[in-house]
């Protein structure tokens, strides 16, 4: 009995966040609905910065969802909608920032760090491999 209640509580906990946000279909056309859901999952709620506007029930997120619905129904492309948001809120509004001069560093940095680390690792491994086995212990102490 207790187990069942615990299970029910867990299920309830998991569902609240989904219930909080409008879940009704925005478009009858499944293609538009899919675009809508993808877009709102990639736009940051500026008021609650670590949530997308799909996850947030702040009124600003609701307003932005409404604007995106309007723009989709007016036939704007995803690119145009992204432009609309970036013009008003900056590149930060997009969870996947586009590659521009300003965001280039953001895109390149992880690969640069990986290369840097890989190079360091290569140097260390090479260096150790060349050490005579006896001196290895002395070198490390």
């Amino acid at each position: 009995m207790i187990r069942r209640m615990l299970f029910a509580c867990c299920v309830a906990l998991l569902t609240t966040s989904a219930l909080a946000i409008d879940t009704g279909k925005a478009f009858d056309d499944p293609e538009l609905q899919a675009r809508y859901e993808k877009l709102i999952d990639e736009v940051r709620c500026l008021k609650c910065q670590n949530q997308t506007i799909k996850d947030s029930n702040a009124f600003l997120a609701g307003d932005l969802r409404r604007e995106i619905r309007r723009m989709i129904s007016e036939g704007m492309t995803d690119e145009q909608i992204a432009d609309f948001l970036v013009q008003r809120y900056g590149e930060f509004a997009l969870y996947r920032p586009r590659m521009t001069g300003k965001t280039l560093f953001l895109w390149i940095a992880p690969f640069a760090l990986l290369l840097f680390g890989g190079f360091g690792l290569y140097r260390i491994v090479r260096h150790r491999a060349n050490l005579p086995i006896d001196e290895d212990v002395i070198e490390e102490s």
Binding site: L46, K47, Q49, F59, L60, D63, L64, R66, E67, V86, Q87, R88, Y89, G90, F92, F116, G120, R123, H127
Partner: protein
């Protein structure tokens, strides 16, 4: 020994990025409108729905556009300063009443005083979005050509006014 320098330099560079990133307030977003023309708008005023306030009102003069709402705590904090600023005649203040209730907004202006030349009533937040507003209060400084010079986030006060707004206005006047 020399190869260790690379590790040290790499670590210091990383540390530099962290120091830069962690000491900035992530809630303060730079406005993409700085240096660009303010967005066009036209809204009915709070006090008289028959009248409208729009882009033309702040042309040919320096002006503040203050985004406010009765539900906004910071707006209550800055209200006394806005009243003093308006009284001093330093600059005309226009309001955008954002996502609010007209009756409550009218009460607010009647009870606390009205620092605004006029306030536009943006009930559905559409103008707010066009201005990139994400949290009231926000205050924009516009130059006589309608270019956005500065955006202040959070309650405005004398210190912020003198430090961030006045030099921009004086600097522009000398040109």
């Amino acid at each position: 020994m020399a190869r260790h320098w690379w590790t040290v330099i790499g670590f210091v560079v990383l540390l530099g990025f962290l120091a830069f990133g962690l000491t900035r307030d992530p809630n303060i977003l730079p406005s993409p409108f700085i240096g660009k023309p303010a967005p066009e708008f036209s809204l009915p005023t709070v006090l008289d729905p028959e009248k409208t306030i729009g882009t033309d009102v702040y042309r040919n003069q320096y002006a503040l556009i203050n985004v406010w709402a009765t539900w906004c705590v910071g707006c209550r904090q800055e209200h006394a300063f806005l009243l003093r600023l308006a009284e001093s005649g330093a600059i005309p203040i226009y309001g955008i009443n954002w996502r609010d209730n007209r009756a409550e907004a009218m009460d607010w202006l009647q009870q606390l005083g009205n620092p605004y030349v006029a306030s536009g009533y943006d009930a559905d937040g559409r103008v707010g979005i066009n201005w990139g507003v994400y949290g009231a209060p926000e205050t924009f400084l516009l130059d006589p050509d309608g270019i956005v010079l500065y955006k202040h986030l959070g309650p405005l006060n004398r210190a912020a006014w003198e430090q961030d707004f006045v030099p921009l206005i004086n600097g522009g006047a000398k040109k």
